[in-house]
Amino acid sequence: MELLDRISENLQNGFDETVVQLTEDAVEKQIPPEEILSDGLIVGMNIVGEKFKNHDIFLPDVLLAARAMNGAMEILKPLLIKEGIPVRGKVVIGSVKDDLHDIGKNLVAILLKGAGFEVIDLGNDVPAEKFISAAKEENAHVIGMSALLTTTMPVMKKVVDLAKDEGLFGKVKIIVGGAPVSKEYALEIGADAYSYDGANAVETVESFFPANSR
């Protein structure tokens, strides 16, 4: 089997160490990094995504594949940057102030990374100002916010308002999520989008970059 097919197959099976090893082999064999990415890793990740949608596999299987993808990306990222190949988009993400729950946010971050986005994870209990300063410093394209309870949701509005004040609005897309958050709430506070789960978050963030989407 060809090397890139083996990368794709092992990624689908969540064998992260093998994927990393095969990626190193591919780099050594002078296969261009963008080809390793598009014809090996992304082919594998797309199949994983399809199987997940069809309920042939479930979230833990996707997370194993994402771990393998992230491991391989550690090797490819510096090479892609060196060749001037643009990253897919940069997302600053965090759980809002006073919210100490971060599993949902972590899942979204991992799946976005797995889809090729660069993700800056600010952790949990993140004040509104921190989202804005990080987005500026990192030249982020997207701010993602998560909340577990309705009582912490108001921070989301604060971030949207601050983004307007700081001239980021329109330049940086804002997406919100978490158990008590809804599409209506996102609209009400002026966020660009809401997603109900990780897979939907990836699709939504991808839709922010139409020209860039694979």
Binding site: F58, P60, D99, L100, I110, T151, T152
Partner: protein, 235 residues
């Protein structure tokens, strides 16, 4: 009366079908070997690390009325208000799995073991929810024994943040119950630490008092519809 319970690791029955269902996985689904391995590891980690505790304190109907009113933010009509007046016994409660499980989940995520972290979190969430059922069952057995085994008596738990009881109701509840004694604290935004904790009231009475029509305005947007299963189990 106030009492503290230490639950043993195997007090919580980890119902596989229910855990998978909470992950959106149908019972008949075929699971991969990887999935089965991760699930098995999460169950044994849970059994090693859970430090489950509960606290209850009996409360009169009139005192509970004040606790329930909280900060005046409840929905004008809600099931809890209809039910507690009919009860024969009320007790505030809080349960927790302790902090270690959530710390382990964070550690797994930090080490890149996302699938294991997710699975342990999911098993723990299920177990935390089950603790509130267990503490209700404990009270039911106690009350039934005291009342020479009345079989119609049912104890169910109701929590702030659900069914029109505003989440800010936890402040008053904490003032009276003081679950800090078993390590549960509440932050300004009404989030409890450890995260895998549940607070509320145990309402005891004839099974019929727990039956209601789930047609309140807020039911339209309810994602859990947990009342349906609870009322079914009363039968």
């Amino acid at each position: 009366m106030r009492s503290i319970v230490d639950f043993a690791a195997d007090d919580v029955i980890l119902d596989r079908a229910a855990i998978l269902c909470s992950q959106g996985i149908p019972e008949e689904a075929e699971l991969t070997e990887n999935f089965e391995r991760i699930y098995g590891e999460a169950i044994s980690l849970f059994q090693q690390l859970a430090a489950s505790k509960g606290i209850t304190a009996g409360i009169s109907i009139s005192h509970f009325e004040e606790v329930f009113r909280g900060e005046g933010l409840n929905e004008p009509e809600n099931p809890v208000e209809e039910i507690y007046g009919e009860s024969s016994h009320l007790a505030l409660f809080a349960v927790t799995l302790g902090p270690v499980l959530s710390e382990k989940v964070t550690e797994l995520f930090d080490n890149g073991d996302y699938a294991s972290g997710y699975m342990l979190d999911s098993v723990s969430s299920f177990a935390a929810d089950r603790l509130s059922v267990l503490i209700a069952q404990n009270l039911q057995s106690e009350l039934a024994a005291a009342e020479s085994g009345k079989s119609t008596l049912r104890v169910l738990s109701y929590s702030p943040g659900y069914c029109g009881w505003h989440i800010s109701g936890q402040r008053k509840l904490f003032e009276v119950l003081c679950p800090q004694e078993i390590g549960i604290t509440l932050n300004e935004s009404c989030l409890m630490s450890p995260i895998k904790s549940v607070s509320g009231v145990l309402i005891a009475g004839h099974g019929k008092i727990h039956e209601f029509a789930n047609s309140y305005p807020f039911c339209d947007t309810c994602r859990t519809k947990s009342c349906i299963g609870r009322m079914r189990d009363l039968k």
